[in-house]
């Protein structure tokens, strides 16, 4: 057990200046991040359903139980409230639990503990109780799943003071963001875009960065497109298509949904004067609503057009045969860009 994980093909090898760069899927990058965290801090424990021998339904935790033992990679009973709430107790004892919620739509049994306990214990105890825990949620649709397996519920948690909510969009960010989240003193909801798990990219190139800083992932001049998680790739596709029509989109990957990197957001919108917010979640009271409100308040005299939102429709996530119509895509982003430019 002592050295096996160091030579595992899943682990990111260490170079003189830190991890060496390697191309891998987001799933592998998350796996490598979890391994690095387990390796670095003996108090880190993974908890969740089927995360041991099976490696989780998405195989994000494939391997660690063999290498770090059943006490640190804990196959839990099938009860989400119990998983999150026992993780709270583990954190009270000094551990740093990383909880896996199997699918986005399965988090609701744990909602009470996340909102009433995880989010509030630090304030309730006047700072005496810290809860350094991460709740990982594979999020969003586009994989042809049955009901409750394709939801985007980040706004519920972003609405709750005491929580931080972040979402990665590519393998490299997944790798360092998850490690940063595990080391952070506050509880963090960590959203992983499940349909991008198999996207490949270079990992390990970036130095450790600030978890709460947005990333201007593609600079542009005409319209700011704000996105996060699974929609970042769609927006980059839209930007490439727009370029062919002579329209320059600036795509900003928010990374952090709370706190928001308002400096980066306002900076971009003041430069372009136009903004389209894109997310999979329904638009009504979604993150786009908050962004539109803040942007109109802070960037009013820079705006050439109203802030527009592109998101899921305000319906329960539809049956998968029509999810392509529900999910925002390149065309719907470009449609919003056109409407913005029409002003």
């Amino acid at each position: 057990m002592a050295t096996e994980h160091l030579t595992s093909p899943d682990a990111l090898p260490q170079g003189a200046g830190g991890p060496l760069m390697r191309s891998m899927t987001m799933a592998k990058a998350l796996n490598a991040a979890l391994r690095a965290a387990l390796e670095r801090d003996p108090k880190v424990v993974l908890m969740g359903e089927d995360i041991g021998k099976l490696g989780g339904v998405f195989r994000i935790t494939e391997g660690p139980q063999k290498d770090f033992g059943e006490d640190r990679v804990i196959d839990t009973p099938l009860a989400e409230a119990g998983i999150v709430a026992t993780a709270i107790g583990m954190a009270l004892r000094g551990y740093r639990p990383v909880v896996e919620i199997q699918f986005d739509g399965f988090v609701y049994p744990a909602f009470d503990h996340i909102v009433s306990q995880v989010a509030k214990l630090h304030a309730r105890s006047l700072g005496n109780v810290g809860l350094p825990m991460v709740i990982r949620i594979p999020v969003g649709g586009g994989i042809g799943a049955v009901e409750h397996h394709s939801e985007s519920n980040e706004a519920y948690f972003a609405h709750t003071a005491g929580l931080r909510v972040v979402s990665c969009s590519n393998p490299d960010d997944a790798y360092w963001m998850l490690q940063e989240a595990i080391e952070h003193p506050d509880p963090i909801m960590f959203y992983e875009p499940k349909r991008r798990y198999w996207d490949k990219g270079d990992v390990g190139a970036a130095p450790q960065r600030d978890l709460f800083r947005a990333n201007v992932i593609r600079p542009g001049t005409d319209v700011t497109v704000l996105a996060y998680g699974p929609m970042v790739r769609s927006c980059l596709q839209a930007a490439r298509a727009a370029e062919e029509e002579g329209i320059s989109l600036e795509v900003v990957d928010l990374r952090s949904l709370t706190p928001l990197d308002t400096e980066a957001i306002y900076g971009s919108v003041r430069k372009t004067g136009r903004c389209v917010v894109v997310h999979e979640a329904p638009t009504f009271l979604g993150l786009g609503a908050e962004l539109a409100a803040q942007i109109q308040q802070e960037c009013f005299y820079s705006l050439e057009a109203p802030v527009l939102r592109v998101g899921g429709y305000n319906v329960p996530y539809p049956p998968s045969r029509v999810e392509e119509e529900y999910l925002p895509d390149l065309d719907r982003v470009l449609d919003a860009v056109d409407r913005s430019l029409a002003h």
Binding site: A81, A85, T86, A87, G89, R93, D112, S125, N128, G162
Partner: protein, 380 residues
């Protein structure tokens, strides 16, 4: 089903033949060979200590109720009548053990050495539970019913991973106690705590104070079989104890805590007791229960029965009881004075501990509030 399906309780139940009792309501010591050894190891001074604890806890509790009636607390959840259940279990804990209370465990807080001013501060609204849980190994009061049973289970899982179970080192082996009530037994969280602790063999003792009433709903609305029988389905023992008998509560809880520390896993203690007062000061129990029931339970008072035992069987003179009353007066007056002197928090303090690390929204909103408040200065 209608009324036919309802069981209306006319006479209060007595706990039945399975209930462990070491001191009768009349103050007579009776034998239970499973627990006699633990009880007999207690000295007369220990029993006097239990008596003093219960008298002081009752006084603190009554003082808080009075303060609420006078408008000095927003709410209070009295533990009147449950002093033996709380002191007996609280005194069975070791320093390294960890207690997870509901919002009514004032007697346990007292045993752990938590200043009752902290409890009053919470009900006065100056904080939401501002004490350091790690100082006395007494977690914050949990208001969401039953939630703390899972926190206790997780904490106990951490204890296991620290290797603090089954070493036979009395200063190292650690047990966790999770308090909850008969109403909470209906919560899914409690069922999940039973599953998790059973599966993990976690060193946790579930301590249910069955005070017969979940606000206005009797036991019959919460359970079809008594709580102490329920753990059988989860694979660990359950024991019903006379919760108004401090000696029996102490002995049974100690046996369960010892087993947990020894690595034998979870257990459940159902302390059969009675909520003599209202659920909280906002409640009106005359609307749903008959006074005859309360009168019967008065005869089972936990303090009176220990006083009788101490006087008759241990020869404790009345002067001791008078001293306890005097001390209670002093503790009550001191608590009252300190409660009234509690400073209100500053408005800006609401932003202080929402996050452990800096957060721009907290900074911005705090600054905006300060500026807004300052705009009124000199306005009059």
């Amino acid at each position: 089903m209608g009324d036919k399906g309802r069981q209306r309780r006319i006479e209060p139940r007595d706990g039945g033949p399975d209930m462990v009792q070491l001191v009768t309501p009349e103050g007579e010591r009776v034998s239970d060979e499973r627990y006699d050894a633990i009880a007999d190891a207690l000295t007369t001074a220990d029993l006097q200590g239990f008596y003093r604890d219960m008298v002081l806890v009752r006084r603190i509790d009554n003082e808080a109720t009075a303060l609420q009636r006078q408008g000095e607390l927003g709410l209070w959840a009295p533990c009147l009548g449950q002093e033996a259940a709380q002191v007996g279990s609280g005194r069975a804990l070791r320093a390294q053990d960890f207690a997870f209370p509901t919002y009514r465990e004032h007697g346990v807080a007292w045993c752990r050495g938590v200043d009752p001013l902290n409890l009053l501060g919470m009900f006065r609204g100056v904080h939401n539970g501002g004490w350091d849980p790690f100082e006395k190994n007494f977690h914050l009061y949990t208001i969401i019913i039953g939630a703390q049973t899972l926190h206790a289970t997780g904490y106990a899982m951490g204890v296991q991973r620290d290797g603090a179970v089954g070493t036979r080192d009395p200063d190292r082996d650690t047990a966790v106690i999770a308090y909850f009530g008969d109403g909470a037994s209906a919560q899914g969280d409690v069922g999940e705590a039973f599953v998790f602790s059973g599966v993990m063999n976690a060193p946790v003792v579930f301590f249910c104070q069955n005070n017969q009433w979940a606000i206005s709903e009797p036991n019959e609305r919460q359970m079809r079989v008594p709580i102490y029988l329920r753990p059988k389905g989860y694979g660990f023992p359950g024991i019903r104890v006379d919760g108004n008998d401090v000696l029996a509560t102490y002995a049974v809880t100690k046996a369960c805590l010892d087993a947990a520390r020894d690595g034998q896993g979870p257990s459940l203690v159902e302390a059969f007791t009675y909520r003599m007062g209202a659920h909280t000061t906002s409640d009106d129990p005359t609307k749903y229960r008959v006074s005859a029931e309360v009168e019967v339970w008065k005869l089972r008072d936990p303090i009176e029965r220990l006083r009788t035992l101490l006087g008759r069987a241990h020869g404790i003179p009345t002067a001791f009881f008078a001293e306890c009353e005097e001390e209670a007066d002093s503790v009550g007056a001191d608590l009252r004075a300190r409660c009234l002197a509690l400073p209100d928090p500053t408005p800006e303090s609401m932003f202080a501990h929402v996050y452990a690390a800096p957060h721009p929204v907290m900074d911005a909103e705090r600054a905006a509030l300060t500026e807004y408040l300052a705009s009124f200065e000199g306005a009059h």
